[in-house]
């Protein structure tokens, strides 16, 4: 419903407008899937954009809910795909941040029961957090399984080796109200290249929430915690100087909004501009948090702005 107090946002920008934005911000947060790459293919021009931002002295970090690989793997992928200047400490994955949460916020004493893949376990191990061993006990059934002692947290992430037994064990551990219930992220499904999708961690977390009657604490976007991790590492970060660039309204834009950052939706991924417009015209003010401040077709739209900046500097 338009009117004198119609909510703004969702502004499609190019050229000079982008240049102004690039000059005004000094901290750029990028989601990965659907923003800088699709699977193993970099989005055309994305590597140039990221490299240019870094060379111009801008802070660039990558904020991803993908919990399946350790950060070292991400560094390799960046290099492989032509993003030459990206270092380990610029990468913030939900698995890395889950490990930080357990180590620094909760200061967990005891073991963690993990429903997740090797990448998640490696991040926890690197942070010195003991995980319950994934054992291959052929005698264990869902009706009668051995539980590990001293489990102080259950952490759920993407797990393609999910079994009913894992769900059963996790819900047993969660009967203890002192045992924490954490999830790397709530994404119901993950996009792959070619418009295909796979079930996400959110679906596994939902199953366990029903089994336990408890709500998980979510580490990843749209929760603020990943931004707190970034702030701890880059002290002095000012939200007003930040721009969050993502492709998913319900994770990236809401994350930006929750942390007080300006947000930009790129249309190379999950969300369509029509969805953003629907949220904008919604009567529910809470829906406005999903609306990006700015919209671009692709982050490659930044490139002409760099050329203009260079021309100006000549």
């Amino acid at each position: 419903m338009a009117g004198a107090f119609a909510f703004k946002g969702c502004q499609k920008i190019r050229g000079a407008q982008i240049r102004v934005l690039l000059e005004a911000k000094d901290f750029f947060l990028f989601d990965c899937d659907g923003v800088i790459w699709h699977g193993e293919n970099a989005i055309t021009g994305a590597a140039k954009v990221v490299n240019a931002l870094i060379r111009r002295g801008k802070n660039v970090v990558f904020v991803t809910n993908n919990s399946t690989r350790p950060r070292e793997n991400y560094v390799n992928k960046f290099t492989r795909l032509g993003f030459t200047d990206v270092m380990l400490d610029q990468i913030f994955s939900s698995s890395y941040c889950s490990a930080l949460y357990l180590r620094d916020v909760v200061k967990v004493r005891g073991q963690v029961f993990v429903i997740g893949c090797e990448g998640l376990r490696l991040e926890l191990l690197e942070a010195g957090i003991p995980c319950v061993e994934e054992e291959d006990d052929p005698d264990a059934t869902i009706y009668n399984c051995a539980l590990a002692p001293d489990v102080k947290a259950v952490l759920v992430g993407h797990d393609d080796k999910l079994t009913f037994l894992k769900l059963a064990k996790a819900s047993c551990y969660l009967r203890d109200p002192e045992c924490l219930f954490l999830a790397t992220d709530n994404d119901p499904w993950h996009p792959l290249s070619g418009g295909r999708i796979l079930p996400g961690s959110g679906s596994l977390t939902a199953a366990l929430e029903v089994a336990s009657g408890r709500k998980a604490t979510v580490i990843g976007k749209p929760s603020r915690f990943m931004f707190e991790c970034i702030s701890s590492q880059f002290s002095g970060i000012d939200p007003a100087q930040c721009l969050m660039v993502g492709d998913r309204l319900e994770t990236d834009m809401l994350f930006g909004s929750n942390c007080g950052l300006d947000t930009m939706l790129t249309l190379t991924g999950v969300s369509q501009i029509e969805e953003a417009q629907e949220y904008r015209s919604s009567d529910l003010t809470t829906n406005h948090s999903y609306v990006p401040d700015y919209v671009v077709d692709t982050i490659a739209d930044f490139l002409p702005a760099f050329e203009e900046i260079e021309e100006q500097n000549d």
Partner: protein, 312 residues
């Protein structure tokens, strides 16, 4: 019924209630048995009800057994019961797909072999039962081949639940005309000794979240469970008594269908919970208040045995 008061059932009220109904529907877990142990006196209650000319039915959300398997369990625990008196969600789900959805052909089933058998008995072929772990890479899973004859995804209790099954179910459900049916939403499957494992509700929630679609559920408190019995036996709701241990499934079903309701305290729900619903201002909560409650269905024995009849 919004006027239900959760009164303690005792004294002359018992005969009055029993005389006002022709059929009694019993939930199983927590009502007539716990795991593999019959509730003391329960078998006798069922026999005496039948002797007095009442019809007796067993209505359970458990989808892991066929009617025949239930009849066998009932017999082995000393209950006088026939196969056609048993209504589990495996049987009712097959009935629902066949008669309500008009489904002919195949379904993708996340569920037990018992469900597959009940589906086959009505001419519906189920694919997907049994273990199904991942192999290959992510792209393979996303492009998993879909059987073009599958018209529905059906979810029941499945101890072989895996990421791959979740994935296949989700892929089928991206097709808009694929139906989506679940047996029930119970969060726990009760076992003996007070143990429990995650129930079908968890598996269903996982699939619903991944697919971003809601399933139609067949089990209590959905009215279909009662209609399944009522149609076959010509029951009149106001002459039926629903006996259960769960306010949010058994009693809610009874309310929704206009049955008289009796809560027994040998299972999940407590008298305090019922009282709290009764004192609530929410119509949804008041629908979960039973007309009466007993500590155990054995409390019906004195009236059934004629011991409370002063004229004898």
């Amino acid at each position: 019924m919004s006027g239900s008061q959760c009164a303690r059932l005792g004294g002359p009220l018992v005969r009055q209630l029993l005389d006002s109904v022709d059929s009694v529907l019993f939930d199983c877990d927590g009502v007539i048995w716990r795991g593999d142990q019959a509730i003391p006196g329960a078998a006798r209650v069922i026999s005496l009800l039948k002797q007095r000319g009442k019809k007796v039915f067993f209505v359970t959300n458990n989808s892991t057994k066929t009617r025949k398997m239930y009849a066998d369990k009932l017999s082995s625990l000393g209950f006088d019961a026939a196969e056609d008196e048993v209504f589990g969600t495996a049987f009712c789900c097959a009935a629902y797909l066949r008669s309500e959805c008009g489904l002919r052909g195949k379904v993708y089933l996340v569920g037990s072999d018992a469900m597959r058998q009940e589906l086959e008995a009505v001419g519906i072929q189920a694919v997907g039962v049994g273990p199904d772990p991942v192999s290959g890479k992510q792209l393979d899973w996303a492009s998993v081949p879909l059987d073009p004859e599958v018209q529905a995804v059906v979810v029941g209790f499945d101890e072989h639940f895996s990421y791959m099954k979740l994935n296949r179910a989700m892929q089928y459900l991206t097709q808009k005309d694929c139906l989506f049916v679940g047996t029930n939403r119970d969060t726990r499957l009760p076992l003996e000794g007070g143990k429990a494992v995650p129930g079908t509700g968890c598996l269903l929630q996982a699939v619903e979240t991944a697919a971003q679609r809601q399933a139609q559920t067949v089990g209590k408190p959905s009215r279909f469970m009662f209609e399944c019995v009522a149609q076959r036996f010509g029951l009149r709701p106001e002459r039926c008594l629903m006996v259960g241990d769960r306010l949010d499934t058994d009693i809610l079903l009874g309310s929704a269908c206009g049955l008289k309701t009796l809560l027994t305290l040998t299972g999940v729900s407590t008298a305090a919970e019922a009282a709290a619903h009764r004192d609530s201002s929410s119509a949804e909560r008041r629908a979960m208040v039973p007309d009466y409650y007993v500590e155990s269905i054995a409390d019906l024995l004195p009236a059934l045995q004629g011991e409370d009849d002063p004229s004898l």
